[in-house]
Assembly symmetry: C2
Homo-oligomer: 471 residues x 2
């Protein structure tokens, strides 16, 4: 029997015994994690995606994400046991499943408003096949009120059923981070669950308790659960903006922000963040706009949230200005400068380049007409660009006038000024957008202009001398 027609304990038992089919709508990073998680709990999972290459890889038992290579063994295992099917047919997935989990991403329109089209399409698809007793769960991050005011009416209209009476409806945000998705989902944090009725809440909480190992937190409403997920992102965005602002002051004062931050954070009430060259990825730069929009509809101006977003958006331009100044400082004609760009992903340990500051830097370099060699240990291609991506930073650094570090991949923490200088074979500027280089002493073969973030800039001489410079 369908899960919302039996006692929650029985539904859990059915899930464990592979009597339920779980449809995961959207099978990217988030969807795949959900699929593997529920599959490991015993569910028969149908993952849906339009990405043909991902389907091909998954059908061969392979993870489509290089930073999530460890998932392959689980994918292989679930496929062998008949617990994982992948398809591009969303209608089939909607028809054949008892529990439907929405994991399609919501992005921003060109006016920076949430574009709910993917959620609406999937809701319509699900609604058309919805049967009494089914369960619908949304894991996508969405503006507060979307479950209640957008998804619910669509499901009810298309199915002729009533949410919380005929079918269970829940909002339960994913809280995963590329590189550690499965552990994040299953083992690290409690699962947040929000429903608008006790019936849905009891059932969905029980089901998740059988999937994740860290327990669940029951929220009083779908809106509260939607809000909490976005607030997590706003907290980070605001604190990164604060770090950017304070780091800039440190640069002007000739003080190292890193050092100040570490000292301040030795007290447990301080959690100063790292500064950066802009915030990338599909989450932090996006969620503040969801909540800003929600607030405007309520007549509330989120001043700090808005200001933080604009500071973080300007951070990439400020870093590009530093690149220009550094090249100028070394008397290099920008259009003739040989650039090495290390890192394309929005942060280390992921191949995700969505909204990555590195791509804006790359565009800037290409516009100047300068030559550029690009390195990233994980990114395989950049949408719409025909560029060779080197795996080893050393190859990119050879003969470079300017080495720009734009992601904090673990490989880049091994970069030493002395080796970089020798590889460059000439006077070089190193623009360390992620402060991956910690040792600024040593004797580089040629003069090096080192520029970090929240640190004074230094001119490092072959004789080992070092002096602070203003760009």
């Amino acid at each position: 029997m369908k899960p919302f027609l039996v006692a929650p304990e029985e539904a859990v038992e059915n899930l464990r015994k592979s009597r339920y089919r779980v449809g995961v709508f959207g099978f990217g990073h988030v969807g795949l994690t959900i699929g593997v998680g529920w599959g490991l709990a015993g569910a028969k999972v149908i993952g849906m995606t339009l990405d043909k290459q991902a389907i091909r890889l998954l059908e061969s038992g392979l993870s489509p994400f290089p930073e999530e290579a460890y998932l392959s063994k689980y994918i292989e295992n679930l496929r062998t046991r008949g617990l994982l099917e992948v398809t591009d047919d969303y209608s089939y997935g909607a028809r054949e499943t008892d529990i439907k989990i929405i994991a399609v991403p919501v992005y921003l329109s060109s006016e920076k408003k949430p574009d709910l089209t993917p959620i609406i399409r999937v809701s319509e698809e699900i609604g058309r096949s919805l049967i009494k007793g089914d369960v619908v769960i949304i894991e996508t991050s969405i503006p507060p009120g979307t479950t209640r005011n957008v998804v619910r009416p669509i499901l009810e209209e298309k199915s002729g059923l009533k949410a919380d009476e005929d079918f269970a409806l829940a909002y339960s945000p994913e809280r995963i981070s590329a590189g550690t998705v499965l552990a994040d989902y299953l083992e690290k944090y409690p699962k947040i669950i929000g429903c608008d009725s006790p019936g849905s809440l009891n059932l969905v909480a029980k089901l998740y308790s059988a999937v994740v190992k860290t327990g669940v937190i029951k929220m009083s409403s779908t809106v509260a659960a939607e809000t909490e997920k976005l607030f997590e992102g706003v907290y980070r965005d605001v604190n990164i903006a604060l770090a950017n602002e304070l780091a800039l002051l440190c640069e002007k004062m000739g003080v190292a922000y890193d050092e100040v931050r570490a000292a301040a954070n030795s007290q447990p009430f301080s959690h100063l963040h790292k500064p950066g060259i802009g915030v990338g990825g599909a989450c932090i730069p996006v969620y503040p706009y969801f909540i800003i929009e929600t607030a405007l509809n309520q007549g509330v101006q989120l001043q700090i949230t808005q200001l933080a977003r604009s500071i973080n958006e300007k951070a990439t331009e400020l870093f590009i200005e530093k690149i220009v100044k550094a090249v100028h400082f070394l008397n290099i004609d920008p259009s003739k400068c040989r650039f090495a760009l290390l890192g394309l992903s929005f942060r280390g340990g992921t191949s995700d380049t969505r909204l990555s500051p590195a791509l804006r830097i790359l565009e800037f370099i290409e516009k100047t007409g300068a030559e550029v060699k690009v390195c990233d240990p994980l990114v395989e291609k950049v949408e719409g660009k025909d560029i060779e991506i080197l795996r080893d930073w050393r190859k990119a650094a050879q003969g470079a006038d300017a080495i720009v570090i734009a992601s904090d991949h673990k490989e880049f923490y091994q970069i030493e000024i002395e080796e970089a200088s020798s590889l460059a074979g000439r006077e070089t500027a190193i623009l360390d957008g992620k402060n991956v280089i910690s040792n600024l002493n040593g004797k580089p073969r040629y003069r090096v202009l080192y520029v970090g973030v929240g640190r004074p800039a230094y001119l490092l001489e072959p004789d080992g001398s070092k002096k602070k410079v203003e760009l």
Copy 2:
């Protein structure tokens, strides 16, 4: 021999054997803590303050601060052993000591600029008596550069000696919080130490290592150490402002910020703060101005830091508006309203009323001409006001039309709506500025309008029904 004339190990030995006298300039909360801490390490401490009543109490072996009553046993112990002397004669303290620790507070001028007068006066006093081999340490929170550019030149000019050559100079910020000062100083966090020479740094780090149990963090300069202390405060101020902003949105959405915050913070990358009715005390509302001023001098605008300050300053006015609306909602003539104001201190567990939002609320109530009964379990008097301060909230709540909770003393967490309603004996508004009341269910004797922070307002009826209301 004076500490800066011997090896650091020998200086520590001398300190332990009570061969050194330590002068603490300013013997309030901070100074007293420092004095007790160094005394317990073996130093002969001379504490200096102009507060005659504090001197009288200290000479009787008593802590002058009710929330720091536990210090009395240490004070008594040190006095018995001849290790603690208190005086209002700063010149005597400057003459008679080997190690001089500055702990006078720096406040803001009426233009909200740091007023360094107390630091300058004490530096002059110390400079006049400074002897080769002495140690000078500043623990007061001050704008970056003050040690190097203000204190150092004064000490050198008045003494004819050179800092870092003839005497050691260090900046080492206190990180204590009223109510737990001694544990904060000795046991909780590492001691931050910044000097502008390795000689001063080695000596002062060794000395503090003999005083505190949690080790020291050596900073690369006095400026870096001054900066870290202020950044701790800025982080808190900005995050309280963010909480205020998000809490306001929650109120409008009818969602409980508390619930959302707890859920978000179940993930370790989120540290959303509590909202409030304005930030009080001598630290958080003050330090941002120090760093804003420093930044302006460097041509940098700290936009988030400034905005946060202005949001937090407006928070008290917003709460006062809520009081007005609540009284209006119950159709009470404001000038005839009987108010109970619970809490005067800037937060729970302290008697400190400096910049306390409660005082602004009190002023507002007094201006309306309304009657007000005031309760605070720790505050004994309010400067310039002749008011009776009740100890028990119940006495204040008797016959009240409006109960305003403005500090989160632990006693107030025991307030129950039902008891408050019975004490009031009439329809009442409860304005819970600290969200101390968690149980909004139950059957109050009379109708209660409950208004918290970041929560929807509720009308609670004697029959146990509860409805959200918009003020």
